[in-house]
């Protein structure tokens, strides 16, 4: 499955990058979300894939045994997901607000403060 997931990660990255490079700020948001998914899935795949062996001990065990999945990437991704959620929520509202304040979704119209005379 690693290869398939690698392709999926690549696809997600490609899609995300393609979307953030659009001129529409709304597509930017969708692209950023996709990039978030891509990064999480990337770490997950890198951590190694194990089926049906969550890193949770059974009540009769005092330590994890056998071919359990690596808990560290899972913890990292969990943190990353939550952080990503916070950041994206802000980004979504920012973009909505920008659209409302400026009346445009086109990045071409959003460069007035960044032009070299």
């Amino acid at each position: 499955m690693e290869v398939e997931l690698a392709v999926a990660v690549g696809g997600l990255y490609a899609a995300g990058i393609y979307l953030v490079m659009r001129r529409s700020i709304i597509k930017l948001i969708i692209g950023l979300s996709l990039l978030g998914h891509a990064a999480n899935l990337l770490i997950f795949t890198m951590g190694g894939l194990v089926r049906g062996q969550p890193p949770v001990m059974h009540p009769w065990e005092t330590r994890l045994v056998g071919g359990f999945a690596d808990p560290i990437p899972e913890a990292l991704i969990l943190t990353a997901i939550v952080i990503g959620f916070g950041v994206q929520a802000f980004a979504i509202v920012l973009i909505k607000h920008t659209y409302q304040a400026t009346g445009t979704e086109d990045l071409k119209d959003l460069q007035s403060s960044d032009l070299t005379s």
Binding site: L28, T98, D114
Partner: protein
Amino acid sequence: MSNALPLIIVIPLLTAVIALSFRHRPGIQRAVGFAGSLVLLCASVPIFLCVLERGYLSTQIGSWPAPYGITIVADTLSALLIVATALVVLLISIASWIEIDPARESFGYTPLLHFLIMGICGSFLTGDVFNLYVWFEVMLIASFVLLGLGGEKPQLEGTIKYVALNLLSSALFLAAIGVLYGTYGTLNMADLAMQLRESRPSHLVITLATLFLLAFGIKAAVFPLFFWLPASYHTPPVPISAIFAGLLTKVGIYSLIRFFTLIFTQDAETLHRLILILAALTMIVGILGALVQKDFRRIISFNLISHIGTLLAGLGLFTPLALAGTVFYLIHDIVSKTCLFLFTSVVQRLGGSGDIRNLGGLYRSNPRISLLFAIVALSVAGIPPLSGFWGKLVLVQAGLIKREYWLVAAILFASILTLYSMCSIWSEAFWKDSSGTPVEFANPGRKASSIPLLLLAPITSLVLLILLMGIWPAPFFETAKLAAQQLSNPDHYIRTILGEKP
């Protein structure tokens, strides 16, 4: 003492939380913010002194030994940066007192500022790669919000660009961590350094190094990844851009220094060459950008980029001398850029505009303030005997010793152009007759007295610091040298964290 290290991160957190609970009382918020920064400074100075004495301070969060738990560690560089950060925050909170409008204050300016500082301090102190990511994110989200706070149109434009490019950087950083963990199975920097040093063929080192170079390069505003900086830094209220300019990009540079001195020391020739090329391009492209700008804050934004290149050059040269130069220059840059950005507010108040073409006559009307500006500007341009000169001197010397003559040429060329750019501000805004300015901007009635003391005091203290670093550089350079020695000999660092090698 080492147990107290996390306090540096928690003090801003608590300051922010307390300020948050007074969200409808801007006055109390201000007081809390000021007190918090004062406490931070008071806490960071003893830590700095202790680090000077012992070399390193480190603690394991939750008592979990390295590399299993998160390491918080201060070496001379970190400790120095912490003190600089605390100082800058203190001065900025004073300036914010009058520079930030009550509306922004009641919507969380003070807590946000301290959350930002928490992220910055965390980044300077952590010894764990993923933890660094977390502090980066704290810093980033706080900077996003601060940048957009107020929601004026230019602010929003700037924030969108800032957010998008920095999120791309975060995605890269995260991917880099994934690759790192997948390949080496550890996140502790010291442990990582040791694993990379050990015998087994180091996999994917260049790739990893490149990933981190890209991720941090965006944060540090290195060419060709700097676009977010000039797009956004001139849009928020002045104290916010001042603190961004003083500290944010420095975190990127700090991380680059940390990673490329501690972890990626293999196959250094290639990587250092790459860094040097990027450094030279950043210097030149940045300063050329400054030459064509007319907005005061945008001019210095581009200057900021150019000097990021200078800092990077020291890392690329990678000799103890060069690193010492970088550390010295880093401190100078924090102080002088913060000061310059605060100056934009003074100029705005006096001249009524941020566009230097519309300004004029400030030298005539406010000679003392002009003198302060001249000192900062000359220091930024690297004129002796001011703080900017010594760092540049050391970097040039290191470059010559390493026979990177083209790099030296780039540094010197960028330096004369910096002088040019500073002089054009001086010439336009200060020397030029105010009668040439459009009527709506000319307000000859404004005098120095209209600059509040709360703004002038931070500026003056920064200028004094610049003078001190310039006229009496020995103690500062000695500290920088100490930091550089530690950086170029990381074995002690590794041993401090991992204990004696089994």
